[in-house]
């Protein structure tokens, strides 16, 4: 669907950080959505907007509400309160879903159909689908078209499911754990395809438990825990939520002196080297190099997304 009209009118909360995405345009949103299943609250007054061209990674421990958010946006379930809009419409309306594609965690899809047949069937659901050849090319499943789905390997099945998600040439793509069961090479190839989607102006909402994947792909990370958003920003901003960066080097300077340097948070010994955590690593390093000409083996690293994630969701939370 190449033609998109712009209708103004809906209110939007100010977004924390500005992104590369065209600000102000909203392709899908959850507006103060609460979702309860009986006694349990899966989402509590959640606001989430997706903008064209963004790759948003939804992170959170198991049971945080990620799947519920995705299911709401796909129209698979209705919110207890609040509103869900995709392209300005309720996604439970079948016609609103003609510009959405989804790759969900499916344990099995009919195994006695050929890849070609699955693609042909999914294409028929959409008014303006991609050609079968394009789907095969994007999903990198050339040569598998005449194989029965049941005869494919785990990674190949994932690639077919990715192809089905794109069958309708969607503007908004939901990828729920897309690279599970893929080898490293297939995973990287899929990442390239996701970047390509984003470059074409398509919006991608990704849930993953490979934090590296979120780090590599996402223009924005939304961390959910216990049904609420607890942090939101670019991967760099999220990582920044854990104090500073790490400096590792071999130096003659003693720990007490290092601790007095500006912005240093902690100093630890690691075998022959010291590990310094500091908010402004450059200033600390400049000072250290001035004070100690023998300083060598210098490494500066940012804390990983994993560190940030664990810090945000509580160290006891399982990573998901």
């Amino acid at each position: 669907m190449s033609a998109t009209a712009f209708a103004s009118g809906l209110q939007q909360e100010p977004l924390t950080p500005p992104f590369k995405a065209r600000r102000g345009e909203v392709i899908a949103r959850l507006h103060s959505v609460t979702k309860r299943y009986g006694q349990t609250t899966a989402l509590e007054d959640l606001n989430l907007s997706l903008h064209p061209g963004e790759v948003v990674a939804l992170l959170g421990p198991n049971g945080a509400g990620k799947t519920t958010a995705v299911r709401l946006l796909l129209g698979l379930t209705a919110p207890t309160s609040g509103s869900v809009r995709v392209m300005g419409r309720d996604p439970r309306d079948a016609e609103a879903r003609t510009s959405i594609g989804a790759m969900l965690q499916v344990t099995r899809i009919p195994e006695t159909l050929k890849v070609r047949e699955h693609i042909d069937l999914f294409r028929s659901y959409y008014p303006a689908p991609l050609s079968a050849a394009e789907i095969v090319h994007i999903a990198r499943i050339e040569g598998l078209e005449d194989r029965l789905f049941g005869k494919l390997s785990g990674g190949q099945k994932q690639r077919v499911l990715f192809g089905l998600a794109l069958a309708g040439n969607p503007d908004l793509v939901f990828l729920d754990e897309p690279t599970v069961g893929m080898d490293i090479e297939s995973r990287r190839a899929l990442w390239d395809q996701i970047r390509l989607l984003s470059a074409q102006g398509k919006t991608v909402l990704l849930t993953t438990h490979y934090l590296e994947e979120a780090d590599m792909l996402a223009s924005r990370i939304v961390v959910i825990n216990k049904g609420s958003i607890i942090a939101e920003g670019t991967p760099a901003e999220i990582k920044h939520r854990v104090a500073g960066r790490r400096i590792r080097c071999i130096t003659q300077l003693d720990a007490a002196l290092l601790l007095r340097l500006p912005s240093v948070v902690s100093v630890e010994r690691d075998r022959e080297a010291v590990l310094i955590t500091a908010a402004e690593a450059e200033r600390v390093v400049r000072e250290m190099l001035r004070l100690d000409e023998t300083l060598h083996g210098l490494e500066i690293s940012a804390p990983g997304l994993e560190d940030a994630f664990l810090a945000l969701t509580g160290s006891d939370a399982e990573k998901n």
């Binding site: 103004s8 345009e25 028929s124 008014p127």
Partner: protein, 263 residues
Amino acid sequence: MATAAVIAAPAPKLGFAYYANVLGKETRYEFLRMLRLRVFSLSVVGFPVMFYMLFGTINSHTEYARYLLASYSCFGMVGASLFGLGAGIAMERMQGWLELKQASPMPRFAYLAAKTISCAAFAMVIVCLLTVIGLTLGGVHMTAVEFLKLAGITLAGAIPFASMGLLLSFLMPPTAGPGIINLIYLPMSFASGLWMPINILPRWMQHAAPALPTYHYGQLALNIFGYAQPGTSMSTHWEALVGFTCLMLGAAWLLFTRSEAKA
């Protein structure tokens, strides 16, 4: 609060051609899927054919061969519907495949209609095979009109028993599906006189039979050859099947809306 633009897709107009195309593809692939799924195709086609080979040919050149041709046609349709929709939908729901389809714009009616039509196609295969066996090995004489009537009545069973399959798909634990269906399907068909002529069943079973939908279905088919139980008009059997269909669909609808609310 800033006012922002919301991207609104132009409402795509999905016309008749779109729906016809989806239904055509969905039906074609559903039939292919079932046909290649040997557990399904062999048992659904194999059982009525095998039973008729046994009981029909033992009684060749007798009235029983004709009776059983009609009753096993019904037996085949009921089996295809209960396994195709009941076990099929329950399994696809458990595996997450149904959810993926529901996240697409696939019209829901196409999913159900494709399954029903595919099951009816299986039943037609069964009717043809049974007729060939009847004419060759069973010594059955039948006119072309009788054959067309038999095919027509058998097809009419697709609606009530597909509805029953749909209801069962909501009630069954998916892993136990085929087992539970057999526990319902086999005794129900037996007690309705689909396995062997109803008048050789115990008296109490004959009295209880009118409570079963398969009894009324079987009577309609048997009436083609003049073997229906005397004393009941055919319209009563039709009414019973219509009532049964409404009951099944109503219950299925109730369960569906309840599960939607919980989802």
